[in-house]
């Protein structure tokens, strides 16, 4: 009851990426005396549930300040993240936003797929008091800082590198493009929509940026020294890569490892993630069910954006719309994150920590 009467600093609106974590959660909260449910029976109910607050979150800053929030699960079916189910999913996200508002959260971040609602028209949210952010600015910040760190560790000169951005016309893809456009040798841009891709490439060429673009990855991958994947990797196949290519998998879900035709001589890490150094607790403690990172206290950049804004008491629509993220905004929120003891997460992938990366940091 307290959650409904007391003001919360932030709400995180999210969804699960796999049935594995959902099954773990549902069976984890089922009484030990009753049988665990098989995934098919969980699937029968999960996607029907209306959004609800699952647990409270408390984070501590390096400065000693504390912020309190809540995680709102949208109950979006992980098998239904495609455009075909857009209407149903958007409706769930809107209900989740209403719930965040009802819970008196000052700010809500729309994690993962749910950010799509804020990348479109926001007219329907103009009457609600809660501030909204996609969290894409800090996500982009962690992706880009990750790339910069990787370059330092592997002695790669970013300014001499060809960087491929998969999903370049999306909000995070655009943020990465604009941040990197004056910092790399060549930008290789890939997206599904040819018209948008060419419009972007033309605009960059007019600024004097060296750009190649293609909706087909095959022509771009062999040229890339660094690959940033911010699109859903379901339909992506990556083959014919250069040796020692650095790949930052920052899509939802992060399963690019399964889409690589060649797995040797590739350095792949999961990007867009940060680590909280001064305290990160869930109540009830559902971390064992939802949390599957190789080190403690790691979280998505989109989640941490709300946290950092709350620490800074900047309850504002920080990341909204599409293509509005500036390098300055990335730099600002990244600096605020450092101020509060939130840093780039150690490099890891599905096999665990990337030892070489982290020993050099």
């Amino acid at each position: 009851m307290d959650s409904k009467s007391t003001s919360l600093d932030f709400a995180i609106i999210g969804h699960q990426e796999s049935w594995q974590s959902i099954t773990s959660f549902i069976n984890g909260i089922r009484n030990a005396s009753i049988e665990p449910l098989p995934v098919d029976k969980i699937k029968d109910v999960f996607g029907f549930m209306p959004p609800r607050d699952l647990f409270k979150i408390t984070l501590k800053s390096k400065t000693g300040n504390e912020v309190n929030g809540v995680f709102i699960e949208t109950f979006i079916d992980p098998d239904k993240l495609s455009a075909r189910y857009l209407k149903t999913n958007i409706s769930k996200v809107k209900k989740a936003i209403s719930l965040a508002s009802k819970l008196n959260a000052k700010l809500a971040t729309l994690g993962g797929f749910t950010s799509i609602v804020l990348e479109g028209s926001r007219n329907e949210f103009k009457d609600i008091s809660i501030k909204l952010t996609t969290g894409n600015t800090l996500t982009a910040g962690f992706i880009l800082k990750g790339i910069e760190h990787a370059c330092v560790q592997y002695d790669i000169r970013l300014e001499e590198s060809n960087v491929l951005i998969i999903g370049a016309t999306g909000d995070i893809g655009l943020a990465c493009t604009h941040y990197l456009k004056q910092k790399v040798s060549t930008l290789l841009l890939n997206a599904r929509n040819q018209r948008r891709l060419e419009t972007l490439a033309t605009s960059l060429r007019n600024e004097g940026v060296n750009v190649f673009c293609d909706t087909n990855l095959e022509s771009l991958v062999p040229k890339a020294d660094i690959i940033i994947a911010v699109a859903s990797s379901k339909d992506i196949l990556i083959g014919n890569t250069k040796n020692n290519v650095i790949i930052c998998d920052a899509g939802y879900p992060k399963n690019l490892e399964n889409r690589l035709l060649k797995k040797e001589d590739i350095i792949l890490f999961h990007g867009g993630m940060g680590i909280i150094n001064y305290g990160y607790t869930f109540s009830p403690n559902y971390k064992p069910f939802f949390y599957n990172y190789p080190v403690d206290n790691v979280a998505h950049g989109c989640v941490l954006e709300a946290v950092i804004l709350a620490f800074e008491k900047k309850y504002e629509n920080y990341s909204v719309g599409k293509g509005n993220i500036t390098p300055e905004a990335i730099s600002n929120i990244y600096q605020w994150a450092l101020k509060h003891g939130v840093e780039l997460a150690p490099f890891y992938n599905s096999k665990g920590l990337c030892k070489l990366f982290n020993t050099k940091v």
Partner: protein, 245 residues
């Protein structure tokens, strides 16, 4: 058979619609009995009269379904003592006998009505003409019952949230376990005693429905009803996750 030929596309459709109406009539009669029992738990004379009025409303719903069934020649089986409906009635009566108005309200107007409103709406959307109107209009009336009880339960929660939530949790497991077993893909506690022959859940596709969607929608409406009362989401998700499936 003449009536059957006139009104239904196939014998399978006739059978499944007969079972749908049999369940609806049985459910309404259980609701009628529950509201009549509920009136005994109420002190306030106006609330008491309202409970009787609701009982009469459920009777009228049952009569409406029965009249349609008679007109179209449906094969109706009413069984208030079947394994699920009988157990639901027993749970309700256990609280009515203790004059526990809040518990009775929770069972009848939240748990049972959530399932009724959702399932009537699903059925109404696939049936045609008069049957469609009948199910959708009754769903609308049942929804009013839910809204009415929500206000009372919300104010009850405010008086003592912890005690209220503990109480509702107990009732949830007593009543929703039965509804969950009843609405699972296969009847988890045997035949319901209402459907003719095998369980109608396997035949719902003949009228464009499936039990997974109907159950999912019903549980979703129940979850929303709990939200509207003010039960925290972190509690209701736990309660629903612990139901049999």
């Amino acid at each position: 058979m003449e009536t059957l030929t006139n009104n239904f596309k196939s014998i399978e459709e006739f059978q499944v619609i007969s079972d749908v109406f049999s369940q609806a009539i049985t459910g309404e009669l259980i609701g009628m009995s529950n509201f009549a029992s509920l009136s005994g738990t109420i002190e306030d004379p106006f609330e008491k009269m309202e409970a009787i009025e609701h009982a009469n409303g459920e009777r009228q719903h049952a009569e409406g379904f029965m009249a349609y069934a008679k007109k179209t020649g449906l094969n109706i089986n009413i069984n208030l003592n079947g394994s699920y409906w009988g157990r639901i009635r027993d749970v309700f009566l256990s609280y009515a006998n203790k004059n526990d108005f809040i518990a009775c309200l929770m069972i009848q107007e939240v748990m049972l009505e959530a399932f009724a409103v959702s399932m009537y709406t699903d059925v109404g959307r696939v049936l045609e003409d008069e049957a469609q109107k009948l199910f959708l209009s009754i769903a609308e009336e049942e929804k009013e019952h839910m809204d009415h009880s929500t206000e009372i339960l919300r104010s009850e929660l405010k008086k003592n949230p912890d005690d209220f939530i503990r109480k509702i949790e107990i009732i949830h497991y007593e009543c929703m376990t039965i509804l969950s077993e009843f609405s699972a893909r296969t009847d988890l506690s045997g035949h319901c005693g209402v459907c003719h022959g095998d369980c109608m859940k396997n035949s719902l596709h003949h009228i464009g429905l499936d039990v997974v969607t109907m159950r999912g929608n019903a549980l979703a409406l129940y979850a929303e009803a709990l939200d509207n009362i003010g039960i925290p989401g972190e509690k209701s998700v736990l309660w629903i996750a612990n139901l049999p499936a």
